[in-house]
């Protein structure tokens, strides 16, 4: 199920501007990798290169290699929609489809992939909502609009929507930044459960969160405005937060910078 990701000399551009440069990283299956760093350091851009969402922005492009197990995500003949089907994503702000019910939101990805039949969909929706720890809260109001849920519930609905298509990797772009502490805790618990089935990469501003949930942590930074972001180091979370290899990482973590 879960797959390994490896990036080799990955650069990402917005038009002429180079947003990240030469990122080399290995992300093992069934782990949680947290990406931290100051604002504008390119950590979200890097995350979006992993499922080719980066190129959705006009003028954006990527060079270098990105391997999912042994296949190059940017190789010739690879279709971005297929990549995104394989690598799911949860966004910073909960973004359920406002015109759809809770049920339809979860089923949206499956329906796109041609899954039909009420029974199959019913099962998949229940499984996904249970997987997102949301089933008990919404099982009685599945036909109600998803937009009527609380922020934390909406975000878990989005997670359910993402895992319904059984991806191999789950990307999360600051999934808790718009949520209150209790909802945040619920999502963090969920992440550790999902780890058994998916490779998870999470971008976060919250260092405590990175320390709490992740197995490995990568630190991105920029030298100056206009410079591309770089991955300074990536290592076991334990090591990054107690004994980082780079001084810049230590400065950031201890709050001396950023």
């Amino acid at each position: 199920m879960a797959k390994r990701i490896e990036s080799i000399g990955l650069d990402a551009y917005y038009g002429a501007f180079k947003a990240i440069e030469d990122v080399n990283v290995v992300i093992e299956p069934k782990t949680i990798t947290a990406l931290i760093g100051p604002s504008g350091c390119g950590k979200s851009t890097f995350l979006r290169t992993l499922n080719r969402m980066h190129e959705v922005v006009p003028g954006a492009r990527v060079t270098g290699r990105l391997l999912l197990d042994d296949e190059d995500v940017y190789g010739p003949g690879v279709d971005a929609t297929g990549v995104r089907r394989t690598i799911g994503m949860v966004f910073q702000r909960p973004n359920p489809f406002p015109t759809m019910s809770i049920y339809d939101n979860v089923a949206a990805g499956l329906r796109l992939n041609g899954v039909k039949g009420k029974k199959v969909l019913d099962e998949a929706v229940e499984r996904s909502l249970k997987g997102a720890n949301l089933w008990n809260e919404v099982k009685d109001r599945l036909p109600k609009p998803g937009a009527g849920l609380s922020g934390g519930q909406q975000q878990r609905l989005c997670i359910a929507r993402a895992i319904a298509v059984e991806p191999q990797v789950l990307l999360m772009d600051e999934p808790c930044s718009a949520l209150d502490p209790i909802s945040t805790l619920a999502i963090e618990d969920l992440m550790t459960e999902l780890k058994d089935r998916f490779t998870i990469v999470i971008v976060t501003h919250n260092m405590q969160q990175a320390a709490r949930v992740s197995d490995r942590t990568g630190f991105f930074t920029i030298e100056a405005t206009g410079e591309p972001g770089r991955l300074v180091e990536i290592d076991d979370t334990q090591k990054i937060f107690t004994n980082p290899g780079e001084k810049r990482t230590e400065d950031y973590i201890t709050g001396r910078f950023g």
Binding site: N51, M53, T81, R85, N95, L112, C158
Partner: protein, 333 residues
């Protein structure tokens, strides 16, 4: 936006006086200035409502004498002979032609307009979106009399060929019945109307498509949707009320369009579905323009009565359209 327009600055009450503070600063002449200005602008606003009411009132007043002299039933007869010694006129043929030509125009314009709107909002390169939208808006800038001129001298020949082809090969279709004579038909009028309402529907739909939040479009893409699937999942459902409103505005425009139809159509007061042949229909608005110059006093009243019906129909269509658009605006805000 709305808070900007409706919320007064905190320390100042609506009439510009300084809240509960002692009114040492406000000289009385200035306060009078405020009252006058406020009164003037309120009066202007009310006069606008007054105009709409006055339109209805004066049309009724001028229509009543003719309706009284009418020897036919205005609401149920198809005959139109209001200038005769014993005037007889009914709205049925005109109303039927008006609605038929407008619905045909809508059927032709709507798919193309949606395509144009999507092309500009989601397919064309971002930098071209503005200029291309402007080019389509230029379609709306061409005066209807020029469309009429082009329709009768250029388009009619083409439509005659197409009509002959349709009648020959798909003549079994209810709308395509014909007797071998084509052109200057309801079909031609509908095509011209379609061209005229296309930019209205296209530009309003484009606006709502551009307002679809990026986050929702990305949500669809992140599930592995193709561009079309993303549009179907995120863009069209979000834009639906706006598109419905735009469509109804287009319909309202088509219902009331006068001069282009008056130029291209060879009119007749009949209820007929044979859209390919001349003398198989007429519209309220075109009939007013065509019949006005030669109308007797009763004839004028009859035309005004028909105009009242047109006013009522377009008013209903427009109120519905605006209500749909307004509700959507609140929903997104």
């Amino acid at each position: 936006m709305s808070s900007l327009s409706t919320t007064p600055p905190p320390s100042v009450s609506p009439d510009g006086r300084a809240g509960t503070l002692p009114r040492t600063g406000g000289r009385s002449s200035e306060r009078r200035g405020d009252r006058v200005f406020r009164g003037l602008s309120l009066g202007a606003g009310l006069s606008l409502l007054g105009i709409i009411v006055a339109i209805a009132v004066f049309l009724v007043v001028q229509a009543v004498p003719a309706l009284r002299d009418n020897t036919a039933s205005f609401l149920t007869d198809t005959v139109w002979d209001p200038n005769a010694a014993s005037p007889a006129f009914g709205i049925v043929a005109l109303a039927f032609g008006t609605v038929l030509s407008s619905l045909l125009a809508l059927a032709m314009a709507l798919p193309v307009a949606l395509g144009v709107a999507l092309f500009i909002s989601h397919y064309a390169p971002r930098r071209l979106a503005g200029p291309l939208g402007y080019v389509v808006d230029l379609l709306a800038a061409v005066p209807s009399v020029v469309y009429g001129l082009w329709g009768i001298f250029f388009l009619n020949d083409k439509v005659i060929d197409t009509s002959a082809f349709l009648a020959e090969h798909v003549g079994w279709f209810p709308l395509f019945g014909a007797d071998g004579i084509y052109g200057r038909s309801v079909f031609l009028a509908s095509i011209v109307l379609a061209i005229m309402i296309l930019p209205i529907i296209a530009s309003l739909s484009r606006e709502v498509f551009l307002q679809v939040p990026t986050s929702q479009q990305e949500a669809a893409l992140a599930l592995g949707a193709t561009r079309w699937e993303m549009i179907r999942t995120a863009v069209l459902p979000f834009g639906k009320p706006g598109v419905i409103g735009a469509t109804m505005l287009g319909l309202g425009r088509a219902l009331g369009e006068t001069i282009a139809v008056a130029i291209v159509l060879s009119p007749a007061f009949v209820v007929s579905l044979d859209i390919l042949t001349p003398n198989s229909g007429n519209t309220i608005a075109a009939n007013i323009a065509l019949g006005f110059a030669e109308a007797s006093s009763t004839g004028r009243g009859a035309l005004i009565a028909s105009g009242l019906v047109l006013f009522a129909i377009t008013l209903v269509v427009n109120v519905l359209a605006r209500a749909i658009i307004h509700r959507r605006r609140e929903f997104t805000a």
